[in-house]
Amino acid sequence: MFGIELSMIWAVLIAVAVFLYVALDGFDLGVGILFPFAKDARERDQMQAAIAPVWDGNETWLVLGGGGLFAAFPKAYAALMPALYIPIILMLLALIFRGVAFEFRHHGRNAGKKWWTVAFSAGSIVAAAAQGLVLGAFVQGVNIVDGVFVGGPLDWLTPFSLLVAAALVAGYALLGAGWLVYKTKGELYERSRGWVKQLALLVALAMGAVSLGTLGVDPRVTYRWGLTMTSIDWNTFLPVAPLPVVALGLCFLLWRGAEKGQHLQPYLYTVGLFLVGYVGLAVSLWPYIIPFAMTPQEAAAADNALSLMLWGALPMLPIILAYTAYVYWLFRAKVGDEASYH
């Protein structure tokens, strides 16, 4: 269709879905990560109210990412999921706790409310960390022979994947803090500005560490960046060199945005920061759907399945984005004490 490989179109669509997931569910997971740092129960209620109407839609992008991978690239899905068994299950269990906690926190009485407050926060942290472990394990590559995972159950557990997990928790916390700056007022808004400034520094360091780590996972990545131990291939390096510079610039803008008391900008700068990291990753791993083991073409479903889905996705995705944007617009007001329907 349109002279482009269907598998490439789907690889791009799924990459977009995953990015939208990170940018959207990232902020509501981030709010959960910041829960322990709130002053009191009232502040935590406001934090949750800032995400309650939209979190379910945000998490649906994760289902589209997983379901889309199954549908468009069944061979990649079948090879990756067993390899990432433990972190994926961990993520799912954590998402259960924090997902039900939205409602349960309001129905619990003393001990119940405390328990679900902790569950919401711990669930958000563990889910973010588990996604980081998945990402780290994915980047460092999984042991696949003839399209089947042949490694051990703990292959994913390496210093690199732990580093990525920590970085992603910090990154989501920054998204959450940015979102709270946008959605809250008064004391909580001031507190959120402080979180943005602290986390901007932390995330800048974490991104740098992960970037260096990524260069170390495979010589093919360093080659992609035009780097070797002893020399720099300027023709390869120069086109991608702006990425880290843009990332640093965004960190600064975001710090200054919080300093100056901007509202929506810090969140958007953070999304930009994630986008830079995402593009950097794409540069490093192109053109693999499972790094160095499987390309989208090799992993793709049959052409008639891909084309049927594309005919559905072409009209549906704009409609989904339109009503999602509409719902965000409906709930654009900053939250106060009255936001809950309970």
Partner: protein, 463 residues
């Protein structure tokens, strides 16, 4: 693949999908019920309908949340535990599930936010529209997931491609496979009945406790109306589903009925103890010829028993047999309660017969039991295949060691037990309190204002 990992993966899938189905079975019906309530409120402006809406929407939010999080698990479990199944069927079933996400999940999730948090923020028409979109989304979702599952029961419209995986030759015949129409109808009606039983049970409980009288009387009648019409209709649809199953999955029907010998005048067994090893059903009490008459429309029809199939192709008989009986039993209870209610309605005694109210309270979970039992019969009866006649369950499992699966199963058991207990507690607590009404509050609790909520949470302590 060692047997342990296979067995553990099967247990885990059965447990997680069984847990999951409880919530859609309830929320599909409840979403439609809420749409009807809101429509009635907008049309009549009777406060009872608004109060009912605001009451049931809280229960909906709790149940829907549990359905969402347990549903996300399912979309990843195909890969984590059934990667061979995922790889083999991806080009056939993948698009169906992708369409479910694109046409249903986003619709439900986005408009749920408006439904729960928009009551005071958006106009009544937009709010009603949102409720309708959520209800519509649950039905679309049911359609796609039933299409996928029905294809696994009665696969068609595919061939084996050069790489050994299945490729659709005709997606229309994949989607509209033989068992889809009856099974989709069967599931939607089951969801409506499940909701009707819960609504009727909760309303009867409120009437027994003399709470929220106008609301409970209205909701009780809506529940009875649904029961009286849908429960008998469900018997007809369920029968149709059985006829289709007999045509395409005769071994499943033989297991449901406990038939071993192939013969004319197959019985309908009221009781029996199927014994897989002895290839017989002990202590069978049944009505000769009735089974043949039900399934083939002729009591003299010769129908295959399990002995007609090689041992390795037979489903586990005891579980299929008994879960089928439990489902039918629950269905008959619902039919009886529906007719009893209709009779009382005609006699104008719906609100006064306490015995009927007590019966409804006891029967409130009957829909859940029927749905679980029915799905067990359908899924266990499909064994030993995951895609009937095409792919064996034993060949579909992931290359994951038993230790990992055992650990994850243990965690699912613990986490779901906690979540289920808390969710059930909160829902039952809401139900025992009943809808808020215009009647003056009976306690000295502050009214439901922002100030009041602040006072309440301050006295409830820090959390």
């Amino acid at each position: 693949m060692d047997l342990d990992a296979l067995l553990l993966s099967r247990l885990q899938f059965a447990f997680t999908v069984g847990f999951h189905i409880i919530f859609p079975a309830f929320t599909i019906g409840l979403a439609s019920f809420l749409a009807v309530l809101e429509g009635l409120w907008l049309a009549t402006k009777k406060p009872a309908f608004r109060n009912l809406y605001l009451f049931w929407v809280k229960i909906f939010a709790l149940s829907f949340g549990m359905g969402v999080v347990s549903g996300v698990v399912m979309s990843y479990q195909f890969g984590t535990n059934w990667s061979v199944f995922a790889e083999q069927t991806g080009s056939v079933l993948g698009p169906l599930l992708a369409y479910e996400v694109l046409t249903a999940f986003f619709l439900e999730a986005s408009f749920l936010g408006v439904m729960l948090f928009g009551w005071k923020r958006v106009g009544p028409k937009l709010h009603f529209f949102s409720t309708c979109m959520v209800a519509f989304g649950t039905l679309i979702s049911a359609f796609w997931i039933l299409a996928a599952n029905s294809w696994m029961q009665t696969p068609q419209g595919f061939e084996t491609g050069p790489d050994g995986t299945y490729i659709a030759t005709d997606f229309m015949s994949v989607i509209f496979n033989p068992s889809l129409p009856s099974r989709f109808m069967h599931m939607v009606l089951a969801a409506y009945l499940t909701t009707a039983m819960v609504v009727a049970g909760a309303s009867a409980f409120a009437l027994l406790a003399k709470r929220a009288i106008p609301e409970s009387r209205a909701a009780l009648r809506m529940g009875i109306l649904m029961m009286a019409i849908v429960a008998p209709l469900q018997v007809v649809i369920g029968h149709e589903s059985g006829v289709v199953a007999h045509e395409h999955q005769p071994a499943k029907v033989a297991a449901m009925e406990g038939w071993w010998e192939t013969k004319a005048q197959q019985p309908t067994l009221l009781f029996g103890w199927p014994d897989q090893d002895a290839e017989t059903t002990h202590a069978a009490i049944g009505i000769p010829g009735m089974g043949s008459w039900f399934v083939a429309g002729d009591s003299n029809a010769e129908l295959p028993g399990l002995n007609a199939f090689p041992k390795e192709d037979r489903p586990p008989v005891w579980l299929t047999f008994w879960s089928f009986r439990v489902m039918v039993g629950m269905g008959l209870i619902m039919v009886a309660l529906g007719l009893w209610g209709a009779l009382l309605w005609i006699l104008k005694r719906v609100d006064s017969v306490k015995l009927y109210h007590r019966a409804l309270v006891i029967a409130a979970p009957s829909g859940f039991i029927a749905v679980l039992a029915g799905w067990i019969a359908a899924e266990v009866g499909r064994q030993p295949y995951v895609v009937y006649g095409v792919l064996r369950t034993a060949d579909a499992v992931s290359p994951v060691p038993a230790g990992s699966v055992g650990l994850s199963l243990l965690f699912f058991l613990v986490v779901y037990a906690i979540v289920f207990t808390a969710g059930a507690l909160y829902i039952l607590r809401l139900m025992s309190k009943g809808p808020d009404t215009e009647e003056p509050p009976r306690t000295d609790e502050p009214p439901g204002t922002a100030l009041g909520a602040g006072v309440k949470s301050a006295t409830a302590g820090e959390a």
